[in-house]
């Protein structure tokens, strides 16, 4: 059975970041991590929408964290990747790799080479 994991680019980045953070992933660290690693501005709205969608698709699971003073007494929401989420990113990675391998060598020849 061919399952279609339709994963957007930003969603993929979010899932990977959650994997990096490894139990410390709630919205603010995710945002900071993406911003620092990819040097792109992430708005909280986009992030939260993506997180909600991923959770609906079943790739993420969330659990509540403690409330702190900085958050004006509001609780945190931690995310972790589910088994299906792991399959999804693995699938995405393998399809990308296949596409890379299928490109003829001459197209990608650059000065420093790409190490294919």
């Amino acid at each position: 059975m061919i399952k279609k994991y339709n994963l957007g680019e930003f969603e993929e980045v979010v899932i990977l970041t959650i994997g990096i953070l490894n139990n410390e992933a709630y919205s603010v660290p995710i945002k900071n991590e993406i911003e620092s690693r990819l040097s792109r501005r992430v708005s909280m709205g986009a992030l939260h929408t993506a997180l909600k969608r991923l959770e609906e698709k079943g790739y993420l699971k969330s659990f509540a964290g403690e409330a702190t003073v900085e958050r004006a007494g509001r609780p945190k929401r931690y995310f972790e990747i589910t088994a299906m989420g792991k399959k999804a990113i693995a699938y995405t990675r393998s399809t990308r790799d296949e596409l890379w391998r299928a490109i003829p060598k001459t197209v990608l020849q650059m000065d420093r080479g790409l190490g294919i």
């Binding site: 919205s27 603010v28 945002k31 909280m44 709205g45 986009a46 909600k52 900085e70 509001r74």
Partner: protein, 306 residues
């Protein structure tokens, strides 16, 4: 402990609280506050405020808005369907009552439609005549010895003439008679029979029937002449003028089927009449008994029943 808690712009905070989906409100608000605090430390209050405002605005997204105040999509079609379903179920719960009511309504509606059609049909007669309220048809009311009573439309031709002379209330009269259907047509192949009328000379003016070709004075002078309807003219003579042309007919004139000259073309009668041709035979046998006699009452004061 420390109550020196600078708070983000209150308006935007309440705005956010209002539009955010209740499920996520707490978490996102917590995030907003945390980010605000960290920004406060690094960049100062003004930048933190601005950042907060920008974040709230950027949070105005379909996924986060309490998009539909019901946690679901607005399904008006579903509402209508449900409405119909429930009403149908209600009806079916009392079958007999429903049956009686619905059939009663159907009958009522049908009757209304039929009556309307009937009345429209009835009122569509006699539309040519501009004075139709003043016109009456003279009938014969005959009772025979064994008690049967009949109303006859055909009466003697002279009654019209004499009564117009005797009663001042009668302004004018007009008689007509029908030969039924006679065969007409120049080309033997396209002959067919048509209903015809024979009438008094004032027929056209009495009923106000306009003539398409020919003059009102020029018609009905000679027994040899006919006025035909527009349909017939088109059929026999095409689009050209029909005046002066001859039509063969099976009416016997002097022992042989005779031809008639067209002296006028009149407009078609409305659908409720089917007369196609009129000719005027004042002395021919036809008008001894006239099928119809119409009288026009003089217009003075209230109508007196005749």
């Amino acid at each position: 402990m420390s109550d020196r808690r600078p708070s983000p712009p209150g308006f935007f905070l309440t705005l956010f609280r209002r539009f955010c989906h209740p499920e996520m409100l707490d978490y996102i608000e917590g995030d907003l506050m945390e980010v605000y605090e960290s920004r406060l430390k690094t960049e100062g209050k003004r930048k933190a405020d601005v950042g907060f405002i920008v974040d709230v605005i950027l949070l105005f997204r379909p996924g986060i808005i309490r998009s539909v105040n019901g946690f679901g999509s607005v399904n008006t079609l579903g509402m209508y369907k449900n409405y119909l379903k429930i009403s149908l179920r209600n009806l079916l719960r009392h079958k007999a009552f429903t049956l009686i009511t619905v059939s009663g309504l159907t009958l009522g509606l049908l009757s209304f439609i039929f009556i309307t059609l009937y009345i429209q049909d009835e009122l569509s007669y006699d539309l040519f005549r501009k004075d139709s309220e003043r016109m009456y048809r003279v009938l014969q009311h005959e009772s025979s010895e064994d008690g049967t009573v009949r109303n006859l439309a055909a009466i003697a031709g002279l009654i019209g003439k004499e009564s117009a002379a005797a009663f001042p209330e009668i302004e004018d009269y007009c008689r007509f008679s029908a030969y039924g259907r006679i065969t007409m047509g120049n080309d033997p192949a396209s002959r067919s029979y048509y209903t015809t009328l024979t009438a008094d000379p004032n027929f056209l003016s009495f009923f106000g029937i306009p003539l398409i070709e020919g003059t009102p004075e020029g018609v009905f002078k000679h027994p040899d002449e006919v006025v035909i309807s527009e349909n017939l003219a088109r059929k026999f003579f095409g689009e050209g003028p029909a005046l002066g042309k001859r039509i063969w007919s099976s009416l016997i004139k002097g022992g042989l089927p005779g031809e008639f000259t067209v002296v006028g073309v009149m407009e078609n009668f409305p659908k409720t009449h089917t007369c196609n041709l009129i000719s005027c035979f004042p002395k021919l046998r036809g008008l001894d008994i006239s099928i119809g006699t119409m009288i026009l009452q003089r217009q003075t004061g209230p109508a007196t029943p005749m």
